[in-house]
């Protein structure tokens, strides 16, 4: 618990400025993790937080960096509390920067209550396992890797792929039918062009008061990126667990976030670990990713869709690796599918929603859903083997059954996985398209589907017997 201690005190005793770190001498009663404000002689304000207090020294990490600060002219004020943000529905429909200041020309967001952005850990004994689906309107996700309310399911992508478009599309379209659904989009280190794209796609939903946007651009302060997801999640926790909304938090790009964490750690002189990332990156990422789920006795939930780009496509890179250890599955985008002209370029066989078996199927999505997706995955795995074989022996040497797998895979890519960037496909349509693709296979190959399901779905459409 944080005890408001005293009025903010101002110090003019800056001892050193080094990168984003500023050391203040002669402080008294300044606590760890407190919020600090630095006033430059030009009148400019910079913001930061206390990284370490040692006797009468306080080390402050500045979000906007230390350039341009004259030590003998700067004045540092400590707030007496960690960084806080007002919470409430006032954020919905608004656009703000990475420090939570509105940049849409409107008045500042007010809230009845201020909360510490670091949050507090959810008591694992008070959690409820995620059980209900979110419908994103994107067939690849809904059909094969269903997102479940309370889940954290990242998108693993590489530079040049349309992951931002996909994330924005999901943010614009996702719903939990019959409930009040809200979206928070947190952007870290995205280019101005991308920021415009995001604002365009999300404008309509924001206009309806269902979405809030936090944007830190590529030319905004780097260290500020550490703050952005925490602001978004603090607002989300209030919406979900005080106001009973289902909240989807989209965070893009987590690789930029991790790079900011690395930059800050390096400025502090911490011992670097793999790829120069600090040893506490796992705990740091967990303090973001674990702020989702459901709670007993509350109707709302927080679902996270973090987006990250794998440097050089390397899935063993610390950012995707540590993310994969914390999150519940992953949606993988690939350059191969992109080259095949499929949007979203979803690599089904590498993708997995670990919670799908609890959140889809009878009573949740549709009774045939789990068997249908299992059969689709099995057939895709076989189709990949056939394709490898084809490369060695040529397509003429393939058996008729093998050829049917290639037809299935093409049909699935063309008509089910592929869709327009503004297309909201309903779930029935998505699943029927998977059936349609499976109809390219001989019936005897459909070993994971019951005879009843096959009769119900394929006979009426006149599929292969």
């Amino acid at each position: 618990m944080i005890h408001p201690r005293r009025l903010p005190l101002e110090y003019s005793s800056v001892a050193s400025v080094e990168g984003p770190l500023l050391v203040v001498r002669g402080v008294d009663g300044v606590g760890w993790d407190e919020q600090a404000t630095v006033k430059l002689d030009s009148g400019e304000l910079r913001h930061g937080q206390v990284l370490e207090v040692d006797r009468d020294l306080a080390v402050v990490e500045l979000f906007e960096g230390g350039d341009g600060i004259k030590p003998d002219a700067a004045r540092v004020a400590f707030a007496g509390t960690p960084i806080r943000i007002p919470v409430g529905e006032g954020w919905l429909g608004r656009v703000c920067n990475g420090r939570g200041q509105v940049i849409d020309g409107g008045p500042p967001v007010m809230g009845a209550e201020w909360r510490n952005v670091a949050g507090r850990p959810i008591n694992p004994a008070r959690r409820m396992p995620p059980r209900d689906p979110i419908i994103t309107g994107v067939s690849a996700v809904d059909g094969l890797a269903t997102l479940v309310r309370g889940q954290k399911l990242p998108i693993f992508s590489v530079g040049g792929l349309p992951h931002l478009e996909l994330a924005a599309q999901i943010a614009a379209q996702a719903t939990a039918p019959g409930t009040s659904f809200r979206v928070i989009f947190a952007a870290m280190g995205i280019t101005n062009a991308d920021a415009e794209l995001v604002r365009d796609v999300l404008e309509e939903r924001a206009g309806k008061g269902e979405l809030a946007l936090f944007i830190n651009r590529a030319d905004d302060p780097v260290v500020e990126r550490i703050l952005v997801p925490r602001l978004a999640l603090t607002v989300a926790e209030h919406l979900a667990f005080d106001l009973d909304h289902h909240v989807l938090v989209v965070m893009c790009d987590m690789t930029s976030y991790c790079e900011a964490v690395r930059e800050a750690a390096s400025a502090r002189g911490e011992i670097p670990g793999r790829h120069g990332y600090p040893g506490h990156l796992y705990s740091d990422l967990a303090s973001v990713y674990e702020r989702c789920g459901r709670l007993k006795g509350h109707a709302g939930s927080i679902t996270q869709l973090p987006v990250l780009t794998m440097p050089a496509g390397d899935i063993t890179h610390p950012v995707p690796d540590l993310t994969g250890y914390i999150t519940e599955g992953q949606l993988v985008l690939s350059t191969e599918m992109q080259a095949a002209g499929v949007y979203p370029p979803f690599e089904a066989l590498s993708s997995l929603s670990r919670l799908m078996r609890n959140g889809a199927g009878q009573g949740r999505t549709r009774s045939d859903h789990l068997a249908l997706s299992a059969q689709t995955f099995a057939a895709l795995a076989r189709a990949r083997e056939v394709r490898e074989l084809e490369e060695m022996v040529g397509s003429d040497a393939l058996s008729e059954t093998d050829q049917s797998y290639l037809r299935f895979s093409t049909a699935l890519e063309r008509s089910m996985l592929h869709q327009r960037r503004d297309e909201m496909r309903d779930l029935d349509d998505t699943l029927d398209r998977a059936w349609e693709a499976l109809s390219k296979l001989p019936r005897r190959e459909l070993t994971m589907l019951s005879r009843e399901l096959i009769d119900e779905h394929l006979n009426k459409k006149g599929g292969l017997g």
Partner: protein, 575 residues
């Protein structure tokens, strides 16, 4: 007693806090800092300055804030109320805590709770440590035995009457020592036993690949390395649910909150096949998820093993499952880095390997102070970054454990679960357990195991060759090896965690399935001798044997034998 002194906080850097002016403090003793009395542990003391690791968020803590010493090391309160409960890394009950955890949590013991006590010792008895004083029926399956604690010996001068007593009540006085329900024990100190014994009998996990190929003894150690997505947590949860230990301590150390929620949702509903009671009745859960304070994560695995030792001392076979020891090691690394210790491998402190060794060494079969044979088995998950098994935590754990269950990404990718690979896994208990099996009605166990491992190894070699030349180009004998290896994988080693018939498998059914496959293999070899072509053998439908594991209940061997008979019949018809 010395007068408690008051110190001052000098420096705060995350969970690392320096304190000055505190007298009479030893390292490993508890301190409390700040207005909220955040708990912490003194790690080093240099020139009067104590460096402590604090088990809570230190936001707002400032130089000049007060600090107290508690005069005792980090301890857990051991007594009734542990089974079926959920605790954080320092054993504070989470059932009673708020939705969002406060920095200062609830006390370890619920003072309002009462327990029915039945004395089992008489006034005037001359007792030694470990002697039975009385019992509490803590859950329908576990009788909680109140023992004379280590260090308490002499005449029983007082014992409580049968009936309900509260946690604060005195229950007995042995010599000069007063005994109540709740007894503190420092977590970093192993509880004493009369004698350590060589582990000899198997821990039946109910998972075929483990029990048949890489078995573990009661009182032994195992480690499970596996990259993300290889099914590590799933395998550990299966062991927690279906192994034949008496008490399970499941430590979720720096892992996912939703996974803990799943365990907590499932265990009260699953029924223990041995007792017919909910599995929760024999389980203690320690949940220090990845977002909970890092230093409490460091403490959690010691809390877990201490609780397991406590039940061992009552005469039970306990197992500790720690998921994941890598997160514990990372907590060590984080503290070492913040206190400026010289890093050894990959930033971990040089003490990592000795700390790991000491942790696994708390496992063992023992004669307890009370004279019974009981054990603590330790199973630790390892999460190698990027799946790299040469990283320090995996490499050192491998040196200290008796069994290694190495999870293979290729198997997991092919949806072969549990994805325990046969090239990197080992069991150093196998020989001794083979002798035990031979003395307990299964003399063929060791032979069976050797044949299967040899067949799997041979098939891996042949398969890489078949990829180059095509399997039809191999000699008939070798094609049969490939066929059998596929059958071993699909009919025996793969096991579904979701099918009620297959979630666990009795030793009799395990042996029946394995024998059926080997008998089919032998028959195929005979046919090859008799010049029956392998291409004909390959066309025999063996799917009934693949389905046999799921066709009957966990004890049902009929499906295996009837599938075997029908396949042998089909094979014989080929002559």
């Amino acid at each position: 007693m010395s007068i408690p002194s008051v110190g001052k906080v000098l420096r705060v850097n995350g969970p690392v806090v320096e304190i000055g002016g505190l007298k009479n403090v030893a390292t490993a003793e508890l301190v409390e800092v700040g207005r909220d009395c955040l708990p912490g542990e003194a790690v080093t003391i240099r020139e009067g300055i104590i460096t402590a690791q604090v088990y809570a968020y230190t936001g707002g803590l400032a130089p000049g804030d007060t600090a107290h010493a508690l005069g005792r090391p980090l301890s857990v309160a051991l007594g009734p109320g542990l089974l079926g409960g959920v605790f954080d890394g320092t054993m504070r009950p989470l059932d009673a805590a708020a939705e969002f955890l406060e920095t200062a949590g609830a006390p370890q013991v619920d003072a309002a709770r009462t327990w029915a006590f039945t004395p089992r010792a008489a006034l005037g008895d001359d007792l030694k440590p470990g002697a039975l004083l009385g019992v509490i029926q803590e859950t329908p399956v576990i009788e909680h035995r109140l023992l004379a604690p280590p260090g308490a010996s002499g005449r029983l001068t007082w014992i409580a009457a049968p009936g309900e007593h509260s946690v604060d009540d005195r229950l007995a006085t042995v010599g000069k020592v007063t005994v109540g329900f709740s007894n503190h024990w420092p977590v970093r100190k192993p509880r004493p036993v009369a004698e350590r014994l060589p582990a000899a009998s198997p821990l039946v996990t109910g998972q075929r690949v483990l029990d048949l190929l890489y078995p573990i003894a009661k009182g032994s150690t195992a480690c499970v390395p596996g990259g993300f997505g290889t099914g590590k947590t799933m395998l550990l949860q299966q062991i927690a649910k279906w192994s034949d230990a008496d008490v399970i301590v499941y430590v979720g150390c720096g892992e996912r909150g939703n996974e803990m929620a799943d365990v907590l949702d499932e265990l009260p509903r699953l029924v223990d096949p041995r007792t017919g009671r909910p599995l929760m009745d024999r389980t203690v859960i320690i949940a220090n998820t990845s977002n909970m304070p890092v230093m409490a994560r460091e403490a959690s695995i010691y809390s877990g093993v201490t609780v397991a030792e406590y039940f061992r001392d009552m005469g039970y076979h306990a197992i500790v499952i720690a998921d994941s020891t890598s997160r514990w090691a990372e907590a060590l690394r984080e503290f070492a880095s913040r206190t400026g210790q010289l890093p050894a491998e990959e930033g971990y402190p040089a003490s990592l390997s000795s700390a790991l060794a000491a942790f696994y060494e708390r496992a063992g079969l023992a004669r307890t102070l009370g004279g019974t044979e009981a054990s603590v088995t330790v199973i630790g998950a390892v999460s190698p970054p990027g799946g790299d098994v040469t990283e320090p935590v995996t490499a050192h754990s491998t040196r200290f454990v008796r069994s290694l269950w190495s999870l293979d990404r290729d198997l997991a990718y092919a949806r072969h679960y549990p994805a325990v690979g046969w090239t990197a896994s080992f069991s150093r208990d196998a020989e001794r357990l083979g002798a035990w099996k031979a003395a307990h009605g299964d003399p063929l166990w060791a032979v069976r195991r050797e044949r299967v491992i040899a067949l799997l190894g041979e098939s891996d070699r042949l398969r890489s060759m078949a990829e180059l030349v095509g399997s039809t180009a191999l000699p008939d004998l070798e094609r049969v090896v490939l066929l059998t290896a596929d059958l071993i994988r699909e009919a025996v080693l793969q096991q579904s965690a979701l099918s009620p018939n297959d979630v666990y498998c009795s030793p009799a059914k395990q042996a029946a399935l394995m024998d059926a496959v080997l008998q089919v293999h032998d028959h195929c070899l005979e046919l090859i001798q008799a010049k029956v072509p392998a291409s004909l053998i390959e066309e025999v439908d063996m799917s009934s044997l693949v389905r046999a594991k799921d066709a009957g209940g966990p004890d049902d061997i009929a499906a295996a034998t009837s599938a075997r008979d029908s396949i042998l019949g089909q094979l014989e018809a080929l002559r």
